[in-house]
Structures are given as structure tokens and as C-alpha cells.
């Protein structure tokens, strides 16, 4: 057994890459590939560690056609990685095909000054498990409103997929768009007029928001 830190699952291998003094290599796992580093222990969470991992994932994304970034802290042994990937190989392969040649753009829509997001109904903030699950359902299925809806409509024909997340506090909505690399310039031109003090656009990123849920 060998201890691995996993950065991403990819459709194919790429040459090993270096980042600072770290060596990232690609290993085959159940028919797909994983970009890993052989390490002795899990990294401590810190801004530096997060930024370093983000930079590494960006480098990996630049060297493969399809990537599923892995969340921070994926410290596993090789047998465990093989078991997890083997058990969810179908959704992993489907998603790799879906994100191939595509990038994620992130759009954050904030409330205009002085108008915080509506508060939860009195008495429901702490809530029961059912209330929590209902909120999760609403977050997952919420339909954007206002400026977020206008943006969603404007780029509708340019995105392969869209995920939406209702925000908290001043953050009203986050829209995640999966965009073909070939139409990225057109997407950027279309969305540029919306950028303002209450609309922030970032990317392109690897498709962090379009990965499969391996635990359901």
C-alpha cells in the first residue's frame, strides 16, 4: 500500500509535472487516471496549501482534455482509491465525457448596497433535519431571479450546463457555467456588459462544480 494525495481524476495520462518541489504523476485507476502526489501525511489546511493545490489543479487542467478536480484533503491509499473509483466508474466516465474540452466560468451576483438577502422565516433558522433537507433541496433546485436570471438567459445558448447556488448574506446567487473552450471568447463578450459592482465573473476554471457525487 502507498499513501497518495489526489488532485484530480482525468480521462488520460499526461507527463509528470512539477510544482515548486512537488512531483505530480498520473496513475491508472480502474480505467481512468488520477493525478497524484506520493506523500507521507495529509497536508494541514491553510491558505498557502489551498492556493498551492489550486495552482497544481490548474496546471493539470492545462495538460489534459478532461479533468474532474478533487476536493481538498483527498489523502487515501492506493487500494482505497481503486475501490472508490471502481465503485463509481460509470458516473465518473460519463462526467469526464461531459466536461471534455470545456471549462467552468463562475458568476457571483451580490445584493445592491443596503439590501441584504432575505432572512429565513422566524423560528426556522436552527430548524429540524427536515427543514435542513428542505433548504438543501431549495438550494439545489432554486431558480435564479433578478440580475442572475438575466445573465442566465443571456448566455443560455453558449453554455453546455449551468449549476446555480443560492447565496447567503449579500451574496444572492452563484452561477456556474460549463462552457466549450471554442465558444469561451463569445461567452466572455456576452457576459462583459453585466460585470458591475454587484456582478463578478471569474474563470476559466477546471469544472469544479460539475463533478459527480460519489457518495449517493
Amino acid at each position: 500500500m502507498s499513501a497518495l494525495y489526489v488532485f484530480a481524476l482525468t480521462s488520460g495520462p499526461a507527463p509528470a509535472l512539477r510544482h515548486a518541489n512537488r512531483r505530480i504523476e498520473f496513475v491508472e485507476v480502474a480505467g481512468v487516471h488520477a493525478a497524484i502526489e506520493r506523500v507521507a501525511r495529509r497536508p494541514e489546511i491553510s491558505e498557502e496549501a489551498l492556493r498551492s493545490q489550486h495552482d497544481i489543479v490548474m496546471k493539470i487542467a492545462g495538460s489534459v482534455n478532461a479533468i474532474l478536480p478533487v476536493r481538498f484533503g483527498a489523502f487515501v491509499d492506493d487500494r482505497e482509491l481503486d475501490t472508490i473509483v471502481s465503485m463509481r466508474l460509470g458516473p465518473i466516465r460519463e462526467t469526464l465525457e461531459k466536461v471534455a474540452g470545456r471549462v467552468q466560468m463562475t458568476v457571483r451576483v451580490f445584493a445592491s448596497g443596503g439590501s441584504p438577502a432575505p432572512r429565513a422565516e422566524p423560528g426556522r433558522e436552527q430548524g429540524s433535519g427536515a427543514a435542513y433537507l428542505e433548504k438543501r433541496r431549495q438550494d439545489a433546485t432554486g431558480v435564479p431571479t433578478g440580475e442572475a436570471a438575466a445573465i442566465s438567459q443571456a448566455v443560455r445558448t453558449l453554455v453546455a450546463d449551468e449549476r446555480t447556488q443560492r447565496g447567503q448574506g449579500r451574496m444572492r446567487w452563484t452561477l456556474y457555467h460549463l462552457v466549450d473552450r471554442s465558444v469561451l471568447p463569445q461567452y466572455e463578450r456576452t457576459i462583459a456588459p453585466f460585470v458591475s459592482p454587484i456582478v463578478a465573473v471569474s474563470g476559466p476554471w477546471p469544472p469544479f462544480a460539475f463533478v459527480p457525487d460519489l457518495w449517493s
Binding site: 489526489v6 481524476l9 491558505e47 489551498l50 492556493r51 493545490q53 489550486h54 489543479v57 490548474m58 496546471k59 487542467a61 492545462g62 495538460s63 482534455n65 474532474l68 478536480p69 478533487v70 476536493r71 481538498f72 484533503g73 483527498a74 489523502f75 487515501v76 482505497e80 482509491l81 475501490t83 472508490i84 465503485m87 471549462v103 463562475t106 457571483r108 452563484t174 473552450r181 469561451l184 471569474s202 474563470g203 476559466p204 476554471w205 477546471p206 469544479f208 462544480a209 463533478v211 459527480p212 457525487d213 460519489l214 457518495w215
Partner: protein
């Protein structure tokens, strides 16, 4: 392809959202706690692996 990602400048919000809220969850460690005392430590990946061995084929 590389140059597409070279253009991106990640804010801390992007880094945190991408790496802590998004991305494939390969392992998930859960501590069940009561009154601030850790009771049970579950490694979900280990649990999943164990379930795979216990459940009959085809389920």
C-alpha cells in the same frame, strides 16, 4: 489548452469555493460528537468499501 488557464487569476473566494465546496469528494471523515466530546470517528470511504463486501452482488 494551457494558455486558457494561464489567464485566470484566482481570488481567495474562488480558491475556497473551488477546493472546499466543489470538486470530487474522494474521502470524507466524519466525527459524531455529543456535548463537544468526540464519540465516533467514521471514515466514510472505509465504510463504503466495507458495505461493498457485505452487500450481496447485484444490489
Amino acid at each position: 489548452v494551457t494558455h486558457i488557464f494561464d489567464q485566470s487569476d484566482a481570488s481567495l473566494v474562488d480558491v475556497i469555493d473551488n477546493l472546499l465546496n466543489r470538486g470530487v469528494v474522494l474521502n470524507a471523515d466524519v466525527v459524531l460528537a455529543l456535548a463537544n466530546v468526540d464519540l465516533v470517528y467514521l471514515r466514510l470511504s472505509a465504510l463504503l468499501c466495507a458495505a461493498d463486501r457485505v452487500l450481496p452482488r447485484g444490489r
